[in-house]
Symmetry: C2
Subunit: 333 residues, 2 copies
């Protein structure tokens, strides 16, 4: 198993990735926001011991965030390894991370523990299975704060209950071009789901990549919440599919191949233009228009994010970054 | 010697082609506009005999325009073999044409005879030498209307004297992008030269291809008119060259390669978009940015004109033509 965005391109399809996040807190300890330095150290130590104890089930590396350079932290957000919120206030915090980066436990985010499992394609059940296994194992060592009536206790009331956020990342270029996203988003919100941009709360949708996730955590089981999400996501996927069937093939080919031409030939490329083209390439691959198996749109999408790019290329100014992006893309295509 | 636009790409440079046109009329015959059918037949017969007589100097095929299909006539305009005016009123007219199409004699255009010689690159002297040789040979057989004070007599007073129009086709993408063409055109007109679009009078400039030609035919020798044109054209060429030296190389590369990408990958391409890209490709070839010797921008430019395209591709609707254009370009690149 390699990281989700490398696994994804072999699968293809409208559902890019599945993510499970569980918010958990230890009993008898204040929430991170109210912890002093000593308490935070204690929290990290206790979690580290618990993580080490479950090594036979899942191997995670314990990493102090203070050891990670600023730009790499931002690149971790781009790879969806940590949340933007955690990146903004991760001083003295820590994470436990699997080698493939698909499993991460943020320690001292909003809650004591945020277990995240991300996997390629339409695979919420698989992601949940892993998250649940970790949840059970850590609970044995740490004892999570749990109220028999409310469920798991969390700092923010919107997470109390299951502490679960399940989400699917969907690629909806044709629904988007038809201006249907707001309607889909409104309909989803009426049944307790949220449609957001690629990087979660407050993020702008990046070139037709959207996350849909559950909002309700109280009075519903984890499995039921996941089932609800799957059913609605499937309806959105069907809507996108039928919209795709209506497109004029010649126009679609023209648009897709022009994007491929731009990616293969441009010398300067902004992040916005890039994501727009990648979305078209992905549509082309999924619709069988581009047959080259070496084109991996989602891996490219993640690899060409600004901080991911700076990791591998010396690029100081925005223009240098736009040039490095174009160079990298040409190298990969 | 193959046709000028096939010869040109091996040369490259800002001067695409050189053209000489001589307007001549036979004595004792009314101008074509006032000829009846019998007179026109007589004119054609006399010219045919004269053309046949100079076969040892230049081999021309005598062609009745009534034998040429409508679309091929329009394609001949696109190849610069005949003038748009001649194409519009060529019923019962004829031409004498060399195999490579660089030499043509239109019979019964505005004047009895229009000798045209076109050659690749900056080669007005060579074109004039051939035109002059034909002029002398035909004059021997036909006896052109000549007034010792005015010179050659023509229907339109603007041609009286030398009956010469010399023109150079220039590629001025950077002057154009800087908005300098009007200024160049105004300056040229003050010294008796005209700057026009690619297809002569009234035609819109096609993507930075411009014709500059002499206007004055009276009180000046043919050679002097040609020298004047060459001097001014050289100044314009120098201006374009120095403007090119000022461009940011990375931006230029980006623009040039994006055009190449669009040409290589588009599935639908309008004539306007195509000429814009070809202009950039030509700039890229001339500036050493594109090194592939197989890319022949001017040959492509001519070959992808609408009627040239219809000759080789079944394309009825404008969309089918735009699709055929894109297909042809991909095939050639």
């Amino acid at each position: 198993m390699s990281c989700w965005y490398k696994d994804y391109d072999a699968l293809g399809g409208i559902v890019i990735s599945s993510r499970i996040r569980l918010a958990r807190n230890l009993s008898n300890m204040p929430f991170p926001r109210r912890m002093d330095a000593q308490m935070l150290r204690t929290l990290k130590e206790r979690v580290k011991v618990a993580v080490d104890k479950m090594q036979d089930k899942v191997m995670l590396k314990f990493i102090e965030m203070n050891d990670i350079p600023e730009n790499e932290i931002k690149a971790m957000v781009e790879r969806h390894v940590i949340s933007p919120d955690f990146a903004n206030s991760c001083r003295d915090r820590a994470i436990a991370l699997s080698n493939d980066e698909n499993i991460s436990i943020m320690i001292g985010e909003e809650d004591h523990i945020r277990i995240q499992v991300i996997s390629a394609g339409n695979s919420l059940d698989k992601a949940y299975e892993i998250a649940d296994m970790i949840d059970v194992a850590l609970n044995e060592s740490l004892g999570f704060a749990f109220d028999s009536k409310l469920g798991y206790l969390t700092e923010c009331p919107t997470n109390i209950g299951t502490g679960l956020r399940a989400s699917l990342m969907l690629h909806l270029p044709v629904c988007e071009s038809r201006g249907e996203i707001n309607m889909i988003s409104d309909a989803a919100s009426k049944i307790g789901l949220t449609v957001r941009g690629m990087y979660g709360e407050g993020s702008k949708a990046s070139a037709s990549f959207y996350q849909i996730s559950n909002q309700i955590t109280l009075g519903i089981s984890e499995k039921n919440a996941i089932e609800n999400l799957k059913v609605i996501a499937q309806q959105i996927v069907e809507r996108e599919k039928s919209a795709r069937a209506d497109i004029d093939k010649l126009n679609l080919m023209d648009t897709v191949f022009r994007s491929l031409g731009a990616l293969k030939y441009a010398r300067i490329m902004s992040s916005d233009e890039f994501t727009k083209h990648i979305s078209m390439i992905k549509l082309g691959v999924d619709e069988g228009i581009i047959e080259n198996n070496n084109i991996k749109p989602v891996e490219l999408l993640i690899s060409a994010q600004p901080y991911m790019l700076m990791k591998n290329h010396i690029a100081i100014t925005p223009l240098e970054r736009d040039e490095a992006r174009a160079t990298m893309i040409r190298g990969l295509l």
